[in-house]
Chain length 187, copies 4
């Protein structure tokens, strides 16, 4: 058995729907339970009791949402002090406008969340390019779904767009089961 926690912040609901897609994928792996929490409701115990944590954020002004960052600064930093999450599985996803047609800051947003996971000693799951759905919503660091078109108008989010997110969840679930309670970082 493994538990995958998906933590997100969302303004208009797109990132929340992406979180649900990741959870759906993770939960579809036999032996994996998926739990979704908003960043502002996430407690230290939610993280320490999980085998994997996936952070999702919209790209805002070129990096992660402040509510996700507040969780990192006020809760994750305490877990870092104790090395409490070493060896768990981590992954990220983003949402963002397509304005500019070039990711709109999704990459640095993902790197900011990966920095937190890596500080916490977690093993990182990428998004391989042959993952179904990658061509519609993929960056190598994780899924990214565009929520606006190139005139900054809202895009409808089709179920199809969530395919890479669901598969990301599947990958995270599988790795969590394989790793189990192995002690990669013990000394």
């Amino acid at each position: 058995m493994a538990k995958v926690l998906i933590v997100y912040a969302s303004d208009y609901g797109s990132t929340k729907r992406m979180a649900a897609a990741v959870a759906q994928g993770a939960g579809s792996v036999e032996g994996v339970e998926a739990v979704v929490k908003a960043a502002e409701e996430t407690m230290a115990e939610d993280m320490t009791s999980s085998d994997a944590i996936v952070f999702g954020s919209p790209a805002h002004m070129g990096s992660l949402d402040w509510r996700v960052k507040k969780l990192f600064d006020t809760v994750c930093s305490g877990l870092w002090m104790k090395s409490a999450l070493n060896g768990k599985v981590g992954a990220v996803f983003t949402t963002g406008g397509g304005f500019g047609l070039s990711g709109g800051g999704a990459e640095l947003t993902m790197l900011s969340m990966l920095a937190n996971l890596v500080e916490l000693g977690m093993i990182i799951v990428p998004l391989p390019k042959n993952t179904p759905g990658y061509e519609l919503g993929g960056l190598h660091w994780g899924p990214n779904i565009r929520t606006m078109d190139n005139t900054a108008q809202p895009l409808p989010l089709t179920e199809e767009s969530f395919e890479s997110a669901r598969n990301h969840g599947v990958h995270v679930g599988r790795l969590s089961l394989v790793l189990g309670k192995t002690a990669i970082f013990d000394h």
Copy 2:
């Protein structure tokens, strides 16, 4: 005349002292006024009325302080919508523990703040390596002062350590005067 605004978040006072050093440098340039504000007290008008903005943050969990990020998401994003800060001068600085002896995430912290400045259309001032003080507190993106030693114990911050920060302020002040009201980005 030019006005340089320095915005910071601080936990134990080190970043606040760095902000004061940047302000001291900027204000030492004839014709430049320097103003220091905590991120949580900074309003849109503080930014629109300035010719340059310098953001400072401790490195927390590998990226910028959540209070600085909240300012970006809730105030700067509105200014981005209006392209209200295009062509102003921007710069960054950080503080952080020396634990690990390798910057401790200062670089990605600076890049997260630079992303916001660049989204806002601001012209970026780096920290050249021959700036006095660089050897004690420099990264090419901006000054970084270490606040802990390699055993995670607090380091005393000497006045000497702030030299690169003061000079960064001087550079920002000078560029603000040179640019004045030129219209680099008009169309």
Copy 3:
């Protein structure tokens, strides 16, 4: 008078065409001369004799082209030692596949080139979001033109796509003239 140097590496010609578009924009500013060079032909003197340098690269495996990097390591590093380019103007652009619809690594590619410019003490020109052409080829750090569609097939590059690149050149040219021989970083 100001001289803007555009340095690029190109595999199939897209980045070379982008370089030409940046040069066209820069050269359209009265008093600005634009010169384009392939990375492999660029000498130290080309850089020291310029007032601005713009680097362009395709995104390869998530960061900059190795030929551009070779120039940084073997030529720019010597100029860094001498602080020979302090205070000049710098900017970047990229090309890349749209596979994944999320920038495909354009952002980290731009940051790798910006790191070199910033190490060299150069003042950075961003790409403001209201720049004409941004909606078709923009990232805040600089223009990015997509050369493949979301099935990894080549996209035709229309002249229209180069608009953000031309305007980036205009901005760089204007700032070079304004800065002239001012001594922002002298001590």
Copy 4:
């Protein structure tokens, strides 16, 4: 059995010695064979026949060595096309001057190498902060050993400095054994 490949570029021998330390650690894990190759001698087969790949580079002008990048562009890109390395284990390390006391670009150098690993679909091993040796040579993304002091003079590299590198190798070796031929990314 698992094979760990360590690939590096080195100017004065420090990065080569770091590579040897990572190999020593990896090879000390029962059932793990470690192989060290210079970037310029590394072939596609070296990578496809390995269970884990660790890339090491000095920080040059704020990002990775051009010889490492040439390997990524000319060899790894072909493996990316075929999704040939999906699910293998990846990690990074750097060396660099301590000039500035703030990492000197080690972080972006690591991220440039991680981008390649993640494009290739590899699972990433971080460097947890309680790894022995972290306090003398650690960044969360991987080990970084300083080779110059804060006046840009060469520092002697003591065997002690290599402790984080050796332990990084141990972690990579262990994870390679645990993952074995599991199919995390199959569809």
